[in-house]
Structures are given as structure tokens and as C-alpha cells.
Symmetry: C2
Subunit: 141 residues, 2 copies
DNA sequence: GCGATTATTTGGAATTGTTCCAATTCCAAG
DNA sequence: CTTGGAATTGGAACAATTCCAAATAATCGC
């Protein structure tokens, strides 16, 4: 009945983990979907407050952590700057523009991913791999 | 005259950047070379104190930062845990063992590095790329 | 060598991002 | 209802790092 489909998949994923779909979780997730610019927890907090003025920063951290657990959101770390969050579930690398500080998603073709995994010697069993570029982007995307 | 060759290349690199080879910098660097287990700043601090009991943590941070600037050492970040330092200058990825917390260097063949760089669309100019695996290692290395 | 200048080190305070905690509040089921 | 677990909240605590101002050390022009 709710026209916002994302909310349904959210509810489903949460239920799968035995968790509830609360307004806070829904708004945090929708904020991430709405503007996919890899916001920090503080930025998410600011955006969510527009809709839920009484939400606390702790709750934003809780919700983000929950979404990461449910694999609806990826936490992205670049050096020691604040963790950023992205709702892109396809395999992708990140490009960090040194000038602007902006982060871009770079799609990772399965073939490349496969080749990268080949570099692991016997005895190393990787559950995930993260690829991060840093440099300069003139792209508008 | 000094039989420790590393110290010479250190002196050289520092000089190239207009910096001095101080005892603190030399000992911090030698500690990294001696045990290449990706220590944190605190761990380096503890090891250096054996030789220079009066060194301060701030100086260890300074020295590490200097060595990173001179490209003698790489800073390695894994999620939000403390930065680790490694004196391995060859292109390599890192494998983070989720059980033990240990970090392993994984050599990166130029061909793989080249292919990874190919995923960047036009307009993205990368100055460096970082590849980090996470998983389980049974290796002894 | 000798003072002037600059680089480096030092200890402690400050900062930042995040987590913890104890006290509510909110649901959901019996 | 009411009882129990889940979730939220605000503020304190925390960990890693950086900042800062004072002390120390090295280097340079003379």
C-alpha cells in the first residue's frame, strides 16, 4: 500500500534480522537513498532532523549501524576521516577526489573483481575486498 | 661508515625534503624495518622507548608522518581502527584477518594494478589506489 | 666558535568521531 | 491492561590523533 517501495524492502530486510521498521530507521534510510553523496553520520543527522526534529545523533549512529548489518548500506572509510554511508549495493570501488573531498562510486566489472581476487596466495580466504582510488576528478557525475 | 644501510637511505630521503635525520626519526624508522607487523603508533612508541626512553608519543606521530611524507613508509587504515605503518614500498594490497586482526601484505603484479586502473571512466585521474581484503588467513607468513 | 635563526621535540590540553550507558519511551503479545 | 523486550535519547566517556606553546637542538653567517 505504501508507494515508497524502498520502505518495503527495508521492512523486509529488518524483519529478516528480527528487527523493527521504526520511523527513525525509515527516515535515515530514505535520506541515504534520496541524496547519494556519501554523507557522514553528522550530515545524515542534519538531513533527518528536517523530518524528525527530535532524533538524536546516537540514534542516527544506531540506525546506520543497523542498516549496514542488514546489508542495505555500505560504510565507506577514507583514511581517518568520518565514516561515510552509501546505499549502493552493486560491487563498486570508490574514488576520492583530493581537491573537493567528494566521493564517487566506480562500478566494478565482475571480471576485474575476479582478477583482483586472484592475487591472493593459497591460504587467504577473502570475504570482501575494498578498492579505493584517490586523485583528481573532472567528471560531473 | 655506519653499517646500517637503511639509515643512509633515510638520511638521503629526508635531506631531499629538506629535513634532518634525527635520532628519533632514525629509531622510529628502524623499528618499522625490524618488525614488519604493521604496528600502530602506540606500538611503535612502546618499541622505540626501549631505545629512546624519553621520546614522546607526539614525536612518534610526527616521525611517522614525516616518513610517510618522504614515501619511506605507508600508512594503512582499516575501517576506523588505529592507523598502522608499513615500510614495504613495493605495490601491494593488504589482507586483514578478521579473527586475529593481523595484517598481511599481498604483492600486486603490475598487470593487475593496470587492470584495476582501467575501471576508471574518463575524467578520473588516480594518483594512487588502495586494495584491502578482509577475511580469514591460515597462512603462516 | 658565537649568537641568531630555524627545525625538532616535548608534555599536556584540546579536538574529533564514535560508543557507551542508564533512563525513558514505544510496541506487541498474552 | 500489563509486562517484557526493543528502540530511542542525551549526555558522559572514550580512543586516536592533532594542536600548542615552551624547551631543546642543530645549522648558518660571520
Amino acid at each position: 500500500m505504501n508507494p515508497i517501495l524502498a520502505s518495503d524492502s527495508l521492512t523486509q530486510r529488518l524483519a529478516d534480522s528480527g528487527l523493527r521498521a521504526t520511523p527513525q530507521r525509515e527516515v535515515v534510510y530514505s535520506v541515504l537513498l534520496r541524496k547519494r553523496d556519501h554523507p557522514t553520520a553528522e550530515e545524515v543527522f542534519a538531513r533527518v532532523k528536517a523530518e524528525l526534529p527530535t532524533i538524536s545523533l546516537a540514534t542516527v549512529y544506531n540506525c546506520l549501524e543497523t542498516l549496514v548489518q542488514c546489508e542495505l548500506v555500505r560504510a565507506v572509510n577514507f583514511e581517518r576521516s568520518p565514516t561515510r554511508y552509501c546505499p549502493n549495493l552493486r560491487p563498486h570501488a570508490h574514488f576520492h577526489d583530493e581537491q573537493t573531498g567528494r566521493t564517487y562510486d566506480i562500478d566494478l566489472p565482475p571480471a576485474v573483481l575476479a582478477e583482483v581476487n586472484q592475487v591472493l596466495p593459497a591460504g587467504f580466504d577473502a570475504s570482501s575486498v575494498e578498492i579505493t582510488f584517490r586523485g583528481q576528478a573532472r567528471a560531473t557525475s
